[in-house]
């Protein structure tokens, strides 16, 4: 194996009460590649991402980030690794009590000794990247959902991380802005050789940005491959997901008891 591994999960299992969300997930993500995790709504994509960024602990299994197993790491060691990763949240997760500028500059102010004037410039540059320069002094409540998401993205990359995780970066954005974000993700990963992990079910976006793709279904990775391998996959689940066909092996309803039974009960 000549490629270095940036993120790896080994037999990841996570249960919420009785519901098994992750049921033995094994994934290897190489340094510098753009890896897309796709899957239906509620299949556990965000949960998987949370394990990779160590904000959730698995019931069983291991997670490796940049060569270190993070599941048993102490706080100080973990903080060192966290400073090398960035995360853009599904719901943007901006701090309500801080302005856009303060949100983006927070990691720099807390973790570096840079002068305020330098921080200001870095923040301007990162906001420029997401097309929001000049919005520094607005509060998050004054922004639209898509703008918040872009600020969240700027905050995720402000420390120039080695790995960036994106949870549905383009959902809720208009097609043009979604295209801009896709291009930004590609630029960052290619120019700065950042490892990129994207969770999405926006198929257009998947095939624009991905080097490799994994399909998550019922708590397991059912297929991993390059764009072309996934496009020409023989797997019924993958085929159905890409084409958006309502009929196929993927069941839309996951209720345990029968719909008819429930109606007449």
């Amino acid at each position: 194996m000549d490629k270095e591994i940036a993120v790896k999960t080994e037999g990841l299992v996570k249960k919420f009460d009785t519901m098994t969300v992750l049921d033995g997930v094994d994934i290897e993500i190489y340094k510098g590649e753009t890896f897309v995790i796709m899957g239906g709504s509620g299949c556990g994509k965000s949960t998987l991402l949370r394990h990779m960024i160590s904000t959730m602990k698995p019931d069983r299994g291991k997670v490796f980030l940049l060569g270190k197993e993070i599941t048993g790491l102490g706080e100080d060691e973990l903080d060192k690794i966290k400073k090398k990763i960035g995360m853009s949240f599904q719901g943007s997760a901006l701090f309500d009590s801080m302005t856009v500028g303060e949100n983006v500059s927070l990691p720099l102010r807390e973790h570096t000794k840079l002068a305020d004037s330098v921080i200001e410039i870095v923040v301007k540059m990162k906001l420029e990247l997401v097309g929001l320069r000049g919005f520094e002094n607005l509060m998050p409540s004054q922004l639209s959902g898509g703008m918040k998401k872009r600020v969240g993205l700027a905050r995720a990359i402000v420390m120039d991380p080695e790995i960036v995780f994106y949870d549905e970066p383009t959902s809720g954005l208009d097609p043009i802005v979604a295209g801009v974000i896709d291009k930004l993700i590609i630029d960052l990963s290619k120019k700065l050789s950042i490892t990129t992990v994207v969770v999405t079910h926006d198929m257009g976006s998947v095939f624009r940005i991905a080097d490799r793709i994994a399909m998550l279904y019922e708590g397991k990775v059912v297929e991993v491959g390059t764009k072309d391998e996934i496009k020409n996959s023989k797997n019924g689940i993958v085929k159905q997901f890409i084409s958006g066909n309502p009929d196929g092996p993927i069941r839309f309803f996951k209720q345990k008891d029968d719909y008819l039974e429930q109606l007449i009960k």
Binding site: T55, D79, K82, M87, G91, A93, F95, L106, R155
Partner: protein, 259 residues
Amino acid sequence: MIGAYAISTAQHAKKVLGLFFDTVYWIIVGPAKGKFAKRASIFEQMVFIGVRSVIIVFFVAFFTGIVIAMQSAYQLAQLGGTIYVAAMVSVTMARELGPVLTALVVAGRIGAAITAELGTMKVSEQIEALDVLALNPVRFLVVPRFLALLIMLPCLTVMSDLVGMVGGFLVGVYNLGLNPYRYIDVSFEFLVWRDIWTGVLKSVVFAITIAIIGCYMGLNTTGGAEGVGKYTTLSVVTSFILIVLFDCILTGVFYFSNM
């Protein structure tokens, strides 16, 4: 059913204590690591607590002082010693009603606000975002609120003692016709240091209770906006119960150790 309830209460109690020790850890170890809470954010919280609660604390204390004066005058008149109304008001305020009523008011105003704020942050992934940015939520959010309450609640308590005494003074002088100078003399003659410091000690315990319960409920909020409302109510109710409980325990300790 009751067993399960007891177990879950015990589990929560353990986690609440865990949060308390975590907070103390960050207060003690934080500065050594150069990772202390920002002085500005502690100050910001102190102003928030003061501005939000000072008027209502004064309101409650003032009328409580009047009520104690009238109630004790009614009884002391039968013994022919209405001048001791002054002592009743000052000692009762300092030992008991100042700390407890101030704590209850602050639990309702500030404890609720803390839970609502942190709860909203929790359900909108902001707590997680802090965590990923390698900013410990306890250091960043709990410590400033904890310290601010620890400083502000005793201050508010001492102020409420004084305001209550003013309320009593007005009744004593204008209603009972007592000599104002004599009233003030008697107020402070019977008020000894241990009355004041036992009251302040109570308010310190209450401050810790309000801060830790408020933050714990906030950080454990689930269930969206509805959950925020639910946990905020739970936070206030829990603080109320614990304040009354700790008040009883502390009063017992002071009583039996002759303090």
